[in-house]
């Protein structure tokens, strides 16, 4: 017993000193934090070592986590590209600037400053871009996508970013719809064109006006929609009941009175006529049958039971709508992303009974109709 004593006390001494050192470090650390001596000012840079460390962590983190991103949809889709560009103009340029424009002075004073995207994104693959746009980046000012259910929107921005390095400033302006604003003159027109509500992304840029249709198939035609439906949609976006990283930020900027006027303005516009060829043989006909008769065996009611010409004001008109938008929304309904509203809960139940082909057929059928050209309820009854 006695022989082992010195050895044990050596261990003990070491342990005691270690514990003492740990306590001292903690106390010193607490005093340092409490003293406020550390300078959090963004006006001075990090230590070079800190900058290097943050940079390494970020690069490897993006590498690792973006490898779990599912395979992208076709990013060459012109409609996807246009939607991404249009949202970039509204949501991203405040910090990242337009192609060709100098960096915004305020954004340039961030730590770290938003990088010039034209040079950075070229070295990144689509999955990494998607991951950053969807999740944002810690230790930078890059925010996450406001609606995490909307991967479809994130892919649109990704599609745009992939093409960004090769875009001239002129081509960008064209693509983002900036050449489309300015013709609208009517009640609520100033609002829609952005001249009234400061900071509001102009509706017309994406959704068009009396002369032009939406700039992308993924953007809905608002012309001649029921006023109450448009108002409801804006309210649901503003309350985040209907998720969209594109529409939520815009809708929250609007007061209820502005939403009413905007809805009334678009409801009063005539719809631009677009002839859409049948995307696949027989698809429109199949959709027509589904819309008029449904498929009782699988519990599918006719679409026209709710979306006939004489449908209630709070339901959307589907006739003449963009097929890409319709199909995209059906996808959201099927994934439950639109279960946040009482209207969405009804459509969600129905949409989840649709097969892929049926969803395409229904979208193709309604897209093939002229706006306001859906049959009336009495016409479909046999």
């Amino acid at each position: 017993m006695r022989d082992t004593r010195p050895e044990r006390s050596g261990w003990r001494r070491l342990l005691r000193r270690g514990a003492l050192a740990a306590v001292l470090v903690l106390v010193a650390g607490a005093l340092f934090v409490r003293s406020g001596l550390y300078n959090v000012a963004a006006s001075s840079d990090h230590w070079p070592f800190t900058t290097w460390l943050i940079d390494r962590v970020r690069v490897h983190s993006v590498d690792t986590w973006s490898s779990f991103v599912p395979a992208p949809p076709s990013l060459d889709d012109a409609d996807l590209l246009a939607l991404g560009a249009a949202h970039f103009e509204g949501g991203c340029t405040p910090c990242h600037s337009r192609p060709g424009d100098p960096a915004n002075a305020i954004a340039a004073a961030m730590l770290p400053p938003p990088p010039p995207l034209g040079t950075v994104v070229g070295s990144m693959d689509a999955k990494a871009l998607f991951w950053i746009v969807k999740h944002g980046l810690k230790y930078t000012a890059m925010p996450a996508w406001p609606a995490q259910q909307r991967d479809d929107e994130v892919w649109a921005v990704t599609a745009f970013l992939v093409r960004l390095p090769e875009l001239s400033p002129r081509a960008y302006r064209e693509l983002a719809g900036m050449t489309r604003t300015g013709q609208a003159v009517q009640d609520g027109a100033e609002l829609a064109t952005g001249s009234e509500s400061v900071g509001l992304t102009e509706c017309v840029r994406c959704h068009g006006d009396a002369e032009t249709g939406p700039l992308s198939g993924y953007v809905p035609v608002l012309n001649a929609q029921p006023r109450r439906y448009l108002e409801r949609a804006l309210a649901e976006y503003a309350d985040a009941q209907r998720p969209s990283g594109v529409m939520q930020p815009v809708a929250t900027l609007l007061t209820p009175a502005e939403r009413r006027r905007l809805a009334a303005w678009y409801a009063g516009l005539a719809a631009p006529r677009e002839d859409r060829p049948d995307p696949a043989p027989g698809l429109v006909e199949e959709g027509r049958r589904l819309a008029r008769e449904g498929e009782p065996g699988t519990g599918l009611p006719p679409c026209l039971a709710c979306h006939a010409r004489d449908h209630p004001e709070s339901f959307p008109s589907l006739a003449g709508q963009n097929p890409e938008y319709l199909l995209g929304q059906l996808g959201l309904f099927r994934r439950g992303a639109r279960d946040g509203t009482v209207h969405g809960q009804i459509m969600g139940v129905i949409a989840r009974r649709l097969g892929d082909r049926q969803a395409q057929a229904a979208a193709a059928y309604f897209a093939s109709l002229p706006a306001g050209g859906a049959p009336a309820l009495a016409e479909i009854a046999p």
């Binding site: 449904g294 009782p296 009611p301 709710c306 009482v342 009804i346 309820l377």
Partner: protein, 349 residues
Amino acid sequence: MRPPGLRRAACILAPVLLAAGCAGVQSALEPAGVEAVHIDRLLRLVTLFLALVFAGVLVATAIALAGPHAWREKLASEHLVVHAGMVFPLVALSVLLGYGIWVMGQGGSAQAGVGLRLDEDIAAAFEALPASGLRIAVTGERWWWRVEYVTADGRRFASANELRLPVGEPVPVLLASADVIHSFWVPKLAGKLDMIPGRVNTLTLEATAPGVSRGQCAEYCGGAHALMSFFVVAMPPAEFAAWLEREAAPAAEPATRAATAGRRLFMTHGCAGCHAIRGTVARGTIGPDLTHVGGRLSLGAGVLPNEPQAMARWIRDTAHVKPENLMPPFAIFTDAELRDLATYLEGLE
């Protein structure tokens, strides 16, 4: 520890309390149909027979343990083993079996459908029945009962979740399924018979007295199986004939402003996509026919009493009233709109 007296009292009381559950609209022990009477008779006979045999065994055991020597001698004889142990069971059980088979023959006869299309199968099965009387088809759906009547004069019309029968007339009821296996069981009227996809079974119901019986799906069929019930109302023949005329007729025009508003809501807000109301543009066949929904005893297949408030609750909150049922929740209506809808639908008698 509980005092032994209390435990004994509990032992005596428990069966009495349990027996109280044997009464009511869903009791096989209060038969109100011909087949149920047969089954009840069989049950009583077998129970009595078993009681007598049990008593005999007890007496024999008592003798074996404590009887006089001479009696125990007789008990041990081969004679008794042959007669009481072989001949008696053979004869008694054969007689009972024969009676049981005869009772079974009084009930349903099964016939195979061709299994191509449900509506064609049912139409063919209707054809095969004598055309002179009332015929009914009940199809099990998830989770409700589709009902069709064919009258003696050949009119065919739909109803749902309730059956009405004339007292004293045997009515053939075709039983089919639209999806999974269900089982049709009205204990007060008859034994249960399965509804099997691809087959059409026939059960003959004959009510012996007017009154209400409750039926229940007796084969687990998923989600809302436990809430898949219905009522059968047996009526005196004259009353039934009058009811049948009303039921066969299209829906009445709404009589009040509220009901008119309710009808407009019903037709434009999608209800008509799944439900039919004869005499209107509503021709949906996915959900129950609502032509005379106001005249039924219950809503949602035996789930709620049929009254305006319950109707409003069903429309708005169907997913909570009957979890997993296939109707979407219509929470889009205001309270006033729900009142109008309920007024319209409750008026459809």
